[in-house]
Amino acid sequence: MKIPGAAGARSYARESAEDAVTALYQANALSLIRIAYVMLDDLPSAEDVVQEAFYGLYRRWDRLTDTDHAIFYVRTAVLNGCRSALRRRAVRRRVLATAPVPAASAEAEVLRGEQREEVIRALGRLPHRQREAVVLRFYLDLPDEQIARVMGIRPSTVRSTVFRALDALGRDLRETA
C-alpha cells in the first residue's frame, strides 16, 4: 500500500490545500474506498464516506498543525463515517422492519457477487471496533501503533482487540461451517 511519506506530505504544505488534498486523494482514495466498502458492503456509501473525509480534510487543512499526519485524519474520518453509516442503516432497518426487502438492482447484484463470503459475513457481525482493527491490520497491514493512532486507542488495546476479534471470528466460522 503506497502512502505518501513524510517528505511527500511536507511538500504538500507548500502547495495549495486543494493540490495537497487532491494528491493525497489520488494516492489513497482507492484503498480507503475499498476499506469503506468492506465495512459497509455498499459502494456508493463507501465513496460518500471517503469523499466526505477528504472534504473535511480540505476544510481543516489550514488548521492542521502537522500536515504529515493528514492521512491519519482521513483514515479516522473514514472509520467514523462508516460507523455513522452503519448506525443510520440500523435505524432504517428498525423503522422499515415491516417493509419488504427490496429487490436489488442488477448492478448491486454484480457488485455483491452471487455469494457473499462467509468470512466477510462473520466480519460484519463483529463489533465496530474489532472490525475496524481487523481491516486495518489485515488489509492495510498497518502496525499496531498506526492502527492505534487512527482508532484513537492505545497499541496494547489494538492487540487485545484484534485478539478478541480473531477469537470471535474463529468461533463464528466454526459454528457456521
Binding site: E18, V21, T22, Y25, Q26, A29, L30, S31, I33, R34, I35, Y37, V38, L43, P44, S45, A46, E47, D48, V49, Q51, E52, A53, F54, Y55, G56, L57, R59, R60, Y73, T76, N80, G81, R83, S84, A85, R88, V91, R92, V95, L96, A97, T98, A99, P100, P102, A103, S105, A106, E107, A108, E117, V119, I120, L123, F138, Y139, L166, L169, L173
Partner: protein
C-alpha cells in the same frame, strides 16, 4: 500467520478487489455546502451533513441526449393526449372535475362509491366500470368501497354525519356550497380508528423523513425539503426513495399530486427526481431505464403507479414517480 489470519486476509482482499481501480470518482471540493462538523467527528456523516451537489455531465452529450429525450417525451405526451381526449368537450363542473381527478389519481384497484350520475361521469373519464359502486337506496353500503365521491345527492342520501363518521379524510375538493364535490377516503372502522392509523403513520413518516434527509446519497431542493418537513409525503414514496439511495444518488426536485383542497389524509404521492450513479454521474436514458426496471422489481405495494423519464428543469433527465390515491396507512412500523 495462522490459517484463520490467512483466510481473513484473503477474504478481505477479495472483497476489497470488488471495487475496481477505475471506480474512484473525482474528488469534489467545491460543489458542497459549508458545515461546522469537524473531521475528528467523522466528516459528513452527522446530522445536517452536506449532500452531494452538482451533476457534471459533459455538456455536449447532455444537450444531444436531452434534445432526443425532449422529443420523445413530447411525442409521448402528444400521443397520450390524443388517446385520452374525449370526442366531445366535457363541461367544466365540479362533478366532471372530480371525475377527471379520480380517473387520473385513484388506484384502479380501488372501489369508488358515487351517485349514478357521478359514476357515469367517472366511467366517461376512463375509470374502470368494475370499480364503481353506484349508491342507491337499499343498495350496497359505501363502507365496502375505499373512496367515495360526496356530491349533494350522496350527502342527502347518506345523511350529513356520514362524512365525519366514516369518511373523515378529504383527498380532493371541487366547487363550493351545495355544488361542492369532495373525494374522500372511506374508513369502515370509523373516523377515530382512521385518525389513530393516520397518527401512527405520521410518526413513521417523521422518522423516515428525518433519516432520509441525513442520507449523503440524497439531495433535495429547498421546496422539496419544506414539503418533506411538513411530513406530508406518502410513505410509499419515502420508502422507494430510501431504497433508491442505497444504489444511486437521488436528487428530489419537488413532490406533488396532493389533490386540490386535500386534508391531512391527502398526501404528496408523486416526485420528480434526478438520479446519478455512485460516481456522481447523472444517469442517461439507459441508466434511467435500469432504474425504472429496479422500481418495477419491488414488492407490488411499492411499485409506482406511473414512472417515466421526464425532462427536468435545467435540461437534466430525470424520473417522474407517482403513486395512486388513496395512500395506504400502516406501511411503516414505527417503534417509539
Amino acid at each position: 500467520m495462522t490459517p484463520l489470519e490467512d483466510r481473513l486476509r484473503r477474504a478481505i482482499q477479495a472483497k476489497a478487489s470488488q471495487v475496481p481501480p477505475d471506480a474512484v470518482p473525482p474528488l469534489r471540493l467545491h460543489a458542497r455546502r459549508r458545515r461546522s462538523s469537524s473531521l475528528a467527528h467523522g466528516g459528513g456523516e452527522r446530522s445536517g451533513a452536506p449532500v452531494r451537489r452538482g451533476w457534471f455531465a459533459p455538456a455536449a452529450s447532455a444537450v444531444l441526449v436531452g434534445a432526443l429525450i425532449a422529443g420523445s417525451v413530447a411525442v409521448s405526451h402528444v400521443l397520450a393526449g390524443q388517446h385520452r381526449s374525449p370526442a366531445r368537450p366535457v363541461p367544466v363542473t365540479p362533478r366532471n372535475e372530480a371525475a377527471a381527478w379520480v380517473a387520473a389519481q385513484v388506484s384502479r384497484s380501488a372501489v369508488v362509491s358515487c351517485d349514478p350520475a357521478t359514476c357515469a361521469a367517472l366511467a366517461a373519464a376512463g375509470f374502470p366500470g368494475a370499480g364503481l359502486l353506484a349508491l342507491r337506496p337499499g343498495g350496497t353500503s359505501p363502507l365496502d368501497s375505499q373512496v367515495i365521491v360526496m356530491t349533494a345527492a350522496v350527502r342527502a342520501g347518506l345523511g350529513a354525519g356520514f362524512s365525519s363518521r366514516y369518511a373523515p379524510a378529504v383527498l380532493a375538493s371541487f366547487g363550493s356550497g351545495r355544488a361542492q364535490v369532495e373525494v374522500r377516503v372511506v374508513a369502515p372502522a370509523g373516523a377515530a380508528a382512521y385518525r389513530s392509523q393516520l397518527s401512527t403513520d405520521l410518526a413513521g413518516r417523521k422518522l423516515v423523513t428525518t433519516e432520509l434527509l441525513r442520507s449523503p446519497a440524497l439531495t433535495v431542493s429547498s421546496a422539496a425539503r419544506r414539503q418533506m418537513l411538513a411530513y406530508r409525503v406518502d410513505a410509499r414514496l419515502l420508502i422507494i426513495v430510501s431504497y433508491m439511495t442505497t444504489v444511486s444518488r437521488v436528487s428530489i426536485l419537488a413532490f406533488g399530486d396532493s389533490g386540490p383542497g386535500a386534508g391531512a389524509g391527502g398526501l404528496l404521492r408523486s416526485a420528480q427526481v434526478a438520479v446519478a450513479s455512485g460516481a456522481d454521474r447523472p444517469l442517461g436514458p439507459a441508466g434511467l431505464r435500469r432504474t425504472i426496471s429496479f422500481l418495477h422489481q419491488q414488492e407490488p405495494a411499492y411499485v409506482p403507479t406511473r414512472v417515466e423519464t421526464v425532462m427536468l428543469p435545467g435540461g437534466r433527465l430525470g424520473l417522474s414517480i407517482e403513486y395512486a390515491a388513496p395512500t395506504p396507512l400502516g406501511m411503516l412500523n414505527y417503534n417509539s
